[in-house]
């Protein structure tokens, strides 16, 4: 932490309160602080830096994960396999930017116009974003510079590890051409006071070299160094308060000693991920806002998206040792476009992935046992692996609700996460499994394992952006339609999920939002 870290009074109503410090909240807090704006950031988790990260899957999971009780419902397999763990995300200063793999892809132009491009799809609640790719391009530029994304700004791509080399060989033999080590927020050369990737693996457990960008050791300490940002860790936001005019006035939270506090605020920005952000808005229901804050549309918590995912692992005659080096070491992008002749709308990416033995045992076939299971694990050394990440469709009934039957340690209703696969999701996943199998067979695989989705790492859409206040929760700036000084600053603002890993877009939107808030404050309109 910097020496001159700010300390603001609880009754200082001039501060912006940011709830959450991940790729959205952490970046917003720093960008506001850099512009001279006073910020209090509330973070439910603790503070961990590279020297604290643990390169052991379960120990790291215990250290970093959001493990508070959640419940699930719906026909997704997660509700059966991981009923109380719908999402694999982080509770710590820096949020899930500690855990993310680093893939940094811009959305495609048509993905901002999902409804216009795909047309109406039964059962889906498709909508165009209120912004276009060209609106976001300048901020993608800034985000790529901030994150040090390879293959942008003259930074070279990362070298391919064994897992990548198998993918590349198979993908090219299968006729694919857009195959590379991708655009990654992992330094391929020393940059921005962070060293280059040492091919250590354990990208998901926090990069002990700091080679991967995370808000935990970039934006957060830089924001603190301005003297304008105070990060309060182990502070769990419970309720956003408002005045008689309906404007928000502060955030109630439980501090690290278990004491309830109220931090007054000029502006509140919610960035607690697509599960906790709508939970907080719903939990803040009042006489004036009986359905929760910013919820006149009824869309808070709805349209939950988690990407169409799954993995394909394959076993080869000889060792691969996929765990060595960058976890997400390469990508095939030939299926990322929109081509309804494949039997679904939208597209998907295929990205290498590896798990260690402990997580492979937990996630390869949850609930599986016997020789079919163990004979696959016996060939762990000879495995290669890839992850499917594709556009899933917003559905109104896929949603976060408060579960009055389950309380957290503060006695507050936990979030229930309901998700039913849309037929489009199922068709896309089947297509992607077949593509993955074709790739690995072409590289000589002797056995292919179509592996079901993990607890969600990409959680999107539950406070979506819309042009018309009737259709969503926030406008194109992430400002709530109902309450002008209430913003949302995380992946929950995504109108649709697109095929790409979301972090770069979350960061670009946060930079853009910070610029907008600063300009409006300057004008006196906020």
């Amino acid at each position: 932490m910097a020496d001159n870290v700010a300390k603001f009074e609880h009754d200082d109503a001039s501060v912006v309160v940011v709830v959450g410090t991940g790729a959205g909240g952490g970046v917003l807090a720093n960008e506001l602080a850099q512009r001279g704006i006073k910020v209090v950031a509330l973070e439910a988790g603790g503070r961990y830096l590279p020297e604290d990260y643990i390169n052991d899957e379960w120990d790291s999971f215990a250290q970093l994960s959001w493990g508070d009780m959640r419940t699930t419902s719906g026909d997704w397999r997660i509700a059966r396999d991981f009923a109380n763990l719908p999402a694999w995300i982080v509770k710590a200063v820096g949020g899930t930017s500690i855990h993310w793999a680093g893939a940094s892809l811009r959305f495609q132009e048509h993905e901002f116009r999902a409804l216009s491009t795909y047309g109406r799809v039964d059962g889906a609640n498709l909508l165009d974003w209120p912004i276009t790719l060209s609106d976001l391009e300048p901020y993608y530029d800034l985000a790529e510079k901030k994150l040090g994304v390879t293959r942008t700004n003259d930074w070279p791509g990362l070298p391919g590890n064994n897992n990548y080399l198998v993918l590349e060989k198979g993908a090219k033999a299968a006729g694919y051409s857009k195959v590379s080590t991708g655009r990654m927020a992992i330094n391929s050369v020393d940059n921005d006071d962070r060293m280059a990737c040492q091919q250590t693996g354990f990208c998901f457990q926090g990069c002990k070299w700091g080679a991967k960008w995370s808000a935990a050791y970039t934006d957060i300490p830089r924001g603190e160094a301005t003297g304008n940002l105070e990060v309060r860790d182990h502070c769990h936001a419970t309720r956003i308060e408002h005045d008689d005019d309906g404007k928000v006035t502060g955030v109630r939270y439980i501090d690290k000693d278990g004491t309830e506090q109220l931090q007054r605020a000029r502006i509140v920005a919610v960035a607690g991920n697509s599960i906790e952000s709508p939970r907080l808005l719903l939990a803040s229901a009042s006489e004036r806002y009986p359905d929760g804050l910013a919820n006149s549309s009824g869309q808070v918590g709805r349209n939950y998206m988690r990407h169409t995912t799954g993995s394909v692992y394959a076993i080869f005659e000889r060792p691969v040792r996929m765990w060595r080096g960058t976890t997400m070491a390469g990508i095939v992008q030939d299926e990322a476009h929109h081509d309804p002749s494949r039997g679904f709308v939208g597209g998907y990416e295929l990205e290498t992935l590896s798990l260690g033995v402990p997580f492979m045992a937990a996630f390869m076939d949850p609930g599986g046992w016997g020789r079919e299971f163990t004979s696959a694990l016996d060939s762990y050394e000879n495995m290669a692996g890839m992850w499917i990440v594709g556009e899933d469709l917003p559905q109104e009934t896929n949603r976060i609700t408060l579960n009055p039957g389950e309380k957290d340690r503060f006695g507050l209703p936990v979030a229930n996460v309901h998700y039913d696969d849309h037929p489009n999701d199922i068709a896309m996943r089947s297509h992607a499994y077949a593509a993955g199998e074709r790739i690995y067979r072409a590289a000589g695989a002797t056995r292919v394992l179509p592996t079901p989705p993990y607890p969600s790492t990409h959680n999107l859409g539950t406070n979506r952006m819309s042009e018309n206040p009737r259709d969503g929760v926030v406008n194109k700036w992430g400002q709530s339609h109902d309450i002008p000084n209430l913003f949302v600053s995380d992946g929950s603002v995504f109108t649709t999920s697109a095929a790409e890993n979301p972090t770069l877009t979350i960061v670009a939107l946060a930079i853009r939002q910070a610029e907008h808030i600063a300009a409006e404050m300057e004008k006196g309109t906020l």
Partner: protein
Amino acid sequence: MTVAHNSPSGSNVRGLTRRGLLARAMAAGATFVVGSGFVAARDAAWAVETTTLKPATMATLIQMARDIYPHDRIADRYYAIAVKGYDTAEKAQMVEEGITGLNLVAKAQGFDDYLSAGWEKDRVTMLRMIEHTPFFQTVRAGLVTGLYNQKEIWPVFGYEGESFSHGGYIERGFNDIDWL
């Protein structure tokens, strides 16, 4: 409960000598030496002392664990370590009832008990008949971490664990594949 590994000299297991173990054995299953308050390997390479569970129950549980996640290159002691946590007052009743149920299934299949079935195929048939019970699901789920999170078995899978302390793989074979 403790799981004791034999010392390299091979004679002493937490005060239980090889000869003593075998002498005290009361009932021998197909795989294990089951004595009063302990289960041991036939070669006395390891022993599990039980405080609450019947030793025969523990022996059956160890075999059941292997049959759920059979790895022929992983020794019994790792399965014993994975299930030793069930030897508590809190969990004993659930396990005793579960194993009793499993042995009843074995009898219905024409065996004296679960351990008497010599072929894995026969034992797996019995496990399939109880796989939806809370007992089976608890044991199976517990093994996912109880067995596979033992670092000692990772080399069997070729898995190297953390590499940070060795400087990663940048100069140690991250891209050394030579057969593509």
